[in-house]
């Protein structure tokens, strides 16, 4: 465990953090230990976000640092990290909506939290959500939107999941700026994440309780 690296990431000192990783690797440090340091830092940033001390730029910058570190670690990892995944989340922005910023942040946060994330991108057709969830044995389908006109696509996706008979094994989450409890009721989804951290919390709750 390297306090310095964790702190550098928490402080979003990008250059320092990357230089430390280079040095640690040169000294023969265990790449899995470095990943643990990163995860600890991301937990702190997530907590700060949840209590209103960090914001979207901080999440984005932290995600950016994580990505650079992962790139550096890859050649040193002999096998995929053995950490067991918390669960599988199939995520995308629903049909008719091409906004991706919010969805991308949720993808990063889920990934860092230890979920196996299948990102279907934007303007995702109803069938793609359901088929992929079945194929990947997903625990959660997460649907994003920015447009109020996309509520119906969410509703159709929920209905398709019903029809496919997968509601017993898959929870459906929605999210995005215009989402409220009223929209959850309208679409028939199981719940919504108020923001990226809320989405991760909800997914953890669901999987823990399953």
């Amino acid at each position: 465990m390297t306090e310095g690296l964790t702190q550098a990431i928490v402080d979003l000192r990008e250059d320092d953090a990357l230089a430390m990783v280079d040095q640690l690797l040169a000294e023969g440090a265990d790449p899995m230990g470095i990943l643990d340091d990163c995860k600890r830092a991301m937990d702190v940033i997530g907590e700060r976000f949840a209590c209103g001390e960090a914001f979207i730029p901080e999440l984005m910058m932290a995600g950016e640092i994580m990505q650079s570190i992962s790139g550096k670690l890859k050649p040193h990892l002999t096998s995929a990290p053995s950490q067991e995944k918390l669960g599988v989340v199939v995520i995308g922005t629903v049909e008719g909506d091409i906004h991706h910023i919010g969805k991308d942040i949720v993808v990063t946060m889920l990934d860092i939290a230890g979920f196996d994330v299948v990102d279907l991108g934007v303007d995702v057709k109803v069938a793609a959500f359901v088929d992929t969830a079945r194929e990947k044995r997903a625990d959660v389908i997460a649907m994003s939107c920015l447009l109020t006109s996309a509520f119906d696509a969410m509703k159709r996706t929920v209905a398709a999941a019903d029809e496919a008979g997968i509601r017993g094994s898959v929870k459906l989450m929605i999210g995005g700026a215009p989402i409220t409890e009223q929209v959850v009721a309208y679409t028939g989804a199981d719940g919504y994440g108020k923001d990226a951290v809320g989405a991760v919390e909800l997914a953890k709750q669901w999987i823990g309780g399953a």
């Binding site: 979207i56 730029p57 984005m60 447009l147 109020t148 006109s149 215009p178 409220t180 929209v183």
Partner: protein, 447 residues
């Protein structure tokens, strides 16, 4: 402008002159009664802006595709078919008794986009379905290392770097020299050489086609608005639009992600670029208001919403240059009409800035606590909006009536309030929109 001695007038005198021009448009109203109704509506807004108690709360939801959709048009027809839209526009205004014209600025000129291969948006038939509104393709159209290009010469950057990336037809512009090369006779020849090349000549032909399409668009829309104005006595809600400098960077040039990372990696450049964009943003709003003889300029606000920045960063990166734009417009007698999309709960202290003169702008909100808004802005600036998108699209008439009644009871009592929507309205339940307006008429008259 509106008077011969414009330069000598104070900001308040300019404000009064613009308000007078708004109340007396060059429109042949269908009757004196309609003209009176028009002027009464302008007065409702003017009273609200000046923080007086209007005779009734003015009602101005942001209408985008809804007027077309509610009359049976597809989104594609609404954008593409001017004849169908003109009919729908009239029927909509006859049926929905709001106090402003539907917001034609949101019916974007897709024929112009077609002529230009416009890439910043998708629109029905171009990347999104027939019933979808236009949507933004966010990307890093300005690279991280191009801040100095922008700062040193924004026009040159726009023409030779930005436009060739977002408008397919303008790609050859990248081969042109800056217009500032034209300083002496000998430089004139070299400057015009690229204009002789086939790609540039092809580009000019496409620009001419886009120009024809734009001319038809403005003629048809002006006629459509003038007809509804003359028949129903409805004023427009804005004479033009501009943007906060930070949003120009975040929406238009660098994209959200690019800009948010720049905030850490090159904060000084971000601040310098925002400063550079201030006079440009003022000028854009000013010209449109002058041409349209309308006192209000629409400013949609995006990347300063709750969650996007800390309070400290909002006050450092976002507010100072937005404030300069607001002050520049107010000095010209223009009323900035800010629409704070998303939540603005954490910004209410920052925007209550004593240097912005009271009663000279409008704050419309989306997902912001209106009690807090009243607490911070009441008696200082006109405010409104907030009727939630979820209620408009998934609610029922009773829920809507209750919401509007409560909202008006809670925050409209001292005047300075405009009833409006928290979203720009595309798809919606017609009965909810109707109830929103009727409840506004009913309860808004009692305050």
């Amino acid at each position: 402008m509106f008077t011969e001695n414009w330069k000598e007038l104070t900001a308040d005198q300019r404000f009064a002159a613009r308000m007078e021009a708004w109340a007396n448009p060059a429109v042949e109203f269908e009757s004196d009664e309609v003209k009176t109704r028009y002027q009464e509506r302008v007065q409702l807004f003017r009273d609200a802006i000046e923080l007086k108690k209007p005779k009734r709360v003015p009602i101005a939801p942001w209408m985008s595709l809804f007027p077309g959709l509610s009359q049976g048009l597809t989104a594609k027809d609404t954008y593409y078919d001017y004849d169908k839209l003109a009919e729908a526009w009239m029927k909509f205004h006859a049926e929905y008794r709001q106090d402003v014209l539907a917001f034609s600025i949101n019916i974007v000129p897709v024929h112009v986009y077609d002529a230009l291969d416009y890439r910043l948006y998708d629109w029905p038939g171009h990347g999104v379905g027939e019933n979808s509104g236009y949507q933004y393709n966010e990307a890093e159209y300005m690279k991280a290392d191009e801040y100095d290009l922008l700062i040193n010469d924004p026009s040159n950057f726009w023409q030779r770097f930005y436009l060739p990336r977002v408008i397919g037809a303008l790609e050859p512009w990248a081969t042109l020299d800056p217009f500032s090369d034209l300083v002496e006779g000998p430089m004139t020849g070299p400057f015009f050489i690229p204009f002789g090349t086939p790609p540039v000549q092809e580009m000019l032909k496409k620009m001419m086609a886009a120009g024809s399409a734009a001319l038809e668009w403005i003629q048809r829309f002006s006629a459509m608005d003038a007809r509804a104005m003359a028949a129903f006595g409805l004023p427009g809600f804005a004479g033009g639009a501009t943007k906060a400098p930070f949003d120009v960077l975040g929406d238009t040039l660098r994209g959200t992600r690019g800009l948010m990372l720049d905030k850490f990696r090159r904060p000084e450049k971000v601040l310098e670029a925002c400063e550079r964009l201030v006079p440009i943003a003022i000028d854009q709003g000013l010209r449109a208001c002058n041409i349209n003889r309308h006192p209000m300029v629409f400013i949609p606000l995006h990347k300063g919403a709750d969650g996007f920045l800390s309070d400290a960063d909002y006050r450092k990166f976002y507010w100072p240059t937005l404030k300069k734009v607001l002050l520049g417009l107010i000095d010209e007698g223009i009323v900035p009409l800010c629409f704070a999309e998303g939540g603005y709960n954490e910004r209410l202290e920052a925007i209550h800035d004593p240097e912005i003169p009271a009663g000279r702008m409008v704050w419309m909100f989306d997902a912001t606590n209106m009690h807090e808004v009243r607490e911070h802005l009441g008696g200082y600036q006109c405010f409104g909006g907030n009727v939630p998108g979820a209620l408009i699209t998934t609610g029922n008439p009773q829920g809507m009536e209750d919401y509007v009644r409560q909202l008006i009871e809670d925050v409209a009592g001292e005047g300075g309030f405009i009833l409006g929507s928290g979203i720009v309205i595309d798809e919606a339940k017609p009965e909810c929109i109707k109830t929103m307006i009727e409840a506004g008429l009913k309860y808004g008259a009692r305050v």
